[in-house]
Amino acid sequence: MASGEIQTSDYQQRRWQNIRKLLERSGPFCHPDFEPSAEILDFIMNSCKVLVVGAGGLGCELLKDLALMGFKKIHIVDMDTIELSNLNRQFLFRKNDIGSSKAKCAVEFVNKRIPGCEAVAHHCAIQDLDDGFYRQFHIVVCGLDSIVARRWLNGMLMSLLQYNDDRSLDQSSVIPLVDGGTEGFKGNARVILPGMSACIECTLDLYPPQKTFPLCTIANTPRLPEHCIEYVKVLQWAKENPWGETTQLDGDDPQHVAWVLEKAQERALKHGIANVTYRLTQGVLKNIIPAVASTNAAIAAACATEVFKLASSCCINMNNYMVLNMADGVYSYTFPAERRLDCVACSNTTRVMEIEADATLQMIYDKLCEDQAFLMKSPGITTVINGRNKTLYMSSIKSIEERTRDNLKKKITELGLYNGCDILVADITTPNTITIKLKFAENLDVDMAR
């Protein structure tokens, strides 16, 4: 390390005095490997590259928090632009900024407020950036509202893992992931050491199941105002196409919302249901999650503290999942989420799926969507037969979907699949194709005879 890079000016010394006390002094509760020195702050400032994923409620806080903890080489990625409803918590944005890139706007503000900070913005989707991009970071910290995006990012970091010849993990390929999430007055923060501790895919059951209404209720027996709104959204819009066939329903278009509101109110009136309001309509259409500045501030700060611990080794990281509930007092609970030894993302083993020998491809497809270990959205399934790739089913491309749709009804043995063969599965929840070995279940006769 060049000595010239160590900050020596009196001003810098004084400015970072608070953090220097933690990094240049030893304490009885420090991490066993911690050796206090001025070089740690130098590493944080001049070498340590941190990626912040999301420039929303958590992202704005994270960027500020990290910059004030000495980090300078911060990248932030977000594809969204600023909206009025962001301003109650995304404190780096003003009314004038509405319509601009969140990432760019946030970076501009923080770099200006905190001299020396060299944050870089990426106004794009996380999927637009490749493994070469992600590999450059020492730590990734994530403040996303989408579970799918989180899973994709998790999959990306897991795919960067490398293993030695003896199948042990190459520690230098590990990029720690700190993840935060909030919903109203509740939130969570966690630290993931890829390949070493529980990852997002290991703990999919921690996410609450998405609230959906059965179609028959919406169509035939509406009871709640939400049912009336869902009816207009799911059935009536497609039937009436008020803005023409090519116009999709857009929850951000006030005219669309107003149309849905009016139709939903008509339906509600017909059935004697009360309280279909504009706010509720918008909430149902956009699946709005309530959000407030204070919860975001607390969760982001907890995440940034963990990033600081990872970069400095000054104390042991949380182990490894904290839930925070601020609805009744302020309550937190930290517990060690456990790894799934057969996790599709982080286990370095081939996943096995048990399936009946006479199952159809549809049954595999449903398992991929419904099994807690997969919870995929629209899996594309291929296999290799006699050295040639064969697409069994893929819904993402219309022409292939039409060509392969009939396969769903066929038995898997008819399609050339056999006990012990591999299927390759691609999905929006992961950047990688996942290999799954089929294992035909035996002794099913007993069950069937019943």
């Binding site: 006390k21 004030l68 918590r89 107003a258 706010r279």
Partner: protein
């Protein structure tokens, strides 16, 4: 393109901006927040982080009291100071940058030390909804706490040192109508159905219905019918024990229609009824906690100055004793359940109508009291809200911070008891207090210059506190050493965590919704632990 929408009930700018939080505390919560005035003493990083999360959601106004001059260290950890702020008044600089967050918020800066204001202009504090303070001396803490206690202004005292932080809420009495419990117990009155409800329930004859209707009977009806059948063999009793509830489940099972092979048909409403047996057969009763409110002296000895909460409690008591026959007003909320639209809406209206009638009676009683006392009027909506949440009313009776400094027997033994626990959260409280004592004695933070040199001095502060609560000294010096290592450093992310929490609690106090911390919160960022203590 011409709009197919004839009318567009567009929301106001403000509604759009605050949409995500209005879903948490409603328009009335927002209105309360907008009439709030928060005072911050000392614009440290912790102080400005608190204000940030209060200004963003749109508090009415803020006042910063700070006579300090901005230093390089301040700029290094406080986002609401700039390099050019150095040498200027800290409060004014912070105020300028914080107000940029939300033009709707009014702000003032007062460049006087708080103890001087306490001495020369104590009325200054009267107009605030909440006073929040950081980095005060022991002496000022006690004087300010006592004064705010006397004038009945809520006070939050916060600390952030190294990885440790705390806040303490001092409020004499705080009443909450909307506590927003996670699991609200349904109020169905199956054991004591009011006339309209029993008429409706009795109009069903489960056995005679055709299959489609059978699958659309609300589970409330099914449960009621099962209990009625059970009562043939168990007259004048109500299923309470697990065995009795299982008998009800079996009866419901028998209601389920069978196909031609005698196999039960899958009827979701009956499945729901079986699941509801354990939670929804709880007899209707007046919760002890609510009974205490109704008969407390605040509700029985009303004066012209009585808060509306206690006037409504008094009216509610009169309702319970007369029209309510020992029960609270019907809540009027029906959970969603498998049912035909007609059945569900009819049942929902039966509950709603009864709730409106009960609330109307309470409202008339409130009006009578108001006219007798000649006090401020209480709106019908306020009474309705009160009746709707009458089962979950909450009262927080607080304690004075000064008692923690006088260390009388109750506080001392409380601390001593918690010091024996295996986790060290109460030790952290002692360390924060000891560091505060050190600062008052030596005019600097322990370890400010040299950590090792101050260990002995800080240890004597700790010993003094421990002897005041009749505890033996700590067996090891590790926590004392750690506090000296911090050297009074304010770590931004620790302050940001606490800032979020304190802002949150202040909003709870101002909106009078959700239960706040009672009354002390300790945070250790190093071990990611938190604890709540009630002094």
């Amino acid at each position: 393109m011409a709009s197919p929408s004839p009318k567009s009930p567009e929301q106001s700018e403000k509604n759009k901006q605050y949409d995500r939080q209005l879903r948490l505390w409603g328009d009335h919560g927002q209105a309360a927040l907008e009439s709030g005035h928060i005072c911050l003493i000392n614009a440290t990083a912790l102080g400005t982080e608190v204000l940030k999360s209060i200004v963003l959601p749109g508090v009415g106004s803020i006042t910063i009291v700070d006579d300090n001059i901005v230093s390089d260290e301040d700029v290094g950890c406080n986002f609401f100071l700039e390099c050019s702020s150095k040498g200027l008044n800290r409060g004014s600089e912070a105020l300028r940058l914080i107000l940029e967050l939300n033009p709707a918020v009014q702000g003032h800066a007062v460049q006087e030390p708080p103890d001087q204001i306490l001495e020369q202009n104590p009325d200054f504090f009267k107009s605030f909804s909440v006073v929040i303070a950081t980095v005060l001396s022991e002496k000022t803490i006690q004087e300010l706490a006592q004064h705010l206690w006397d004038i009945n202004v809520p006070f939050i005292l916060c600390r952030s040192v190294g990885f440790l932080g705390s806040f303490r809420i001092q409020i004499k009495e705080h009443t909450i109508i909307e506590t927003h419990p996670d699991n609200e117990q349904p109020d169905l009155r199956l054991d004591v159905p009011f006339q309209a409800l029993s008429d409706y329930l009795n109009s069903f004859n489960i056995d005679d219905m055709d299959l489609k209707d059978h699958g659309h009977i609300p589970w409330i009806v099914i449960l009621y019918k099962a209990v009625q059948k059970w009562q043939i063999n168990n007259p004048n009793s109500w299923p309470m024990s697990r065995k009795e509830k299982n008998e009800i489940k079996n009866l419901i099972q028998e209601f389920i229609r069978k196909d031609e092979n005698g196999i039960p048909i899958n009827e979701e409403n009956f499945e729901e009824a079986i699941r509801a047996v354990n939670t929804s057969l709880v007899p209707t009763f007046l919760p002890v906690k609510i009974q205490e409110f109704l008969y407390s002296s605040a509700a029985t000895n009303l004066t012209k100055e009585s808060p509306s909460f206690w006037i409504m409690c008094s009216a509610l008591r009169s309702f319970v004793e007369a029209e309510g026959k020992g029960k609270l007003p019907v809540r009027g909320v029906l959970p969603d359940m498998t049912a035909s639209t007609e059945h569900y809406v009819t049942l929902q209206n039966i509950y709603r109508t009864q709730a409106a009638m009960d609330a109307e009676i309470v409202y008339r009683k409130v009006q009578e009291i108001v006219s007798q006392l000649h006090c401020d009027t209480i709106s019908e909506n306020e009474v309705k809200l009160f009746c709707r949440h009458a089962h979950d009313l909450y009262l927080l009776k607080g304690s004075n911070i000064v008692t923690e400094y006088q260390l009388g027997t109750p506080v001392a033994s409380y601390i001593a008891r918690h010091l024996e626990e295996p986790d060290v959260m109460m030790v952290h409280y002692i360390m924060l207090r000891a560091a505060e004592m050190f600062r008052s004695e030596h005019c600097r933070a322990p370890g400010d210059w040299e950590p090792e040199a101050d260990i002995t001095k800080l240890k004597s502060c700790v010993s003094k506190l421990l002897s005041d609560i009749s505890c033996s000294p700590f067996p090891k010096d590790d926590h004392i050493h750690e506090m000296c290592r911090y050297g009074g450093a304010e770590i931004h992310t620790v302050s940001a965590f606490l800032g979020g929490c304190v802002a949150h609690e202040a909003i709870k106090l101002v909106t009078k919704q959700y239960k706040p911390v009672n009354n002390t919160f300790i945070y250790d960022g190093a071990s990611t632990n938190t604890a709540t203590f009630t002094f």
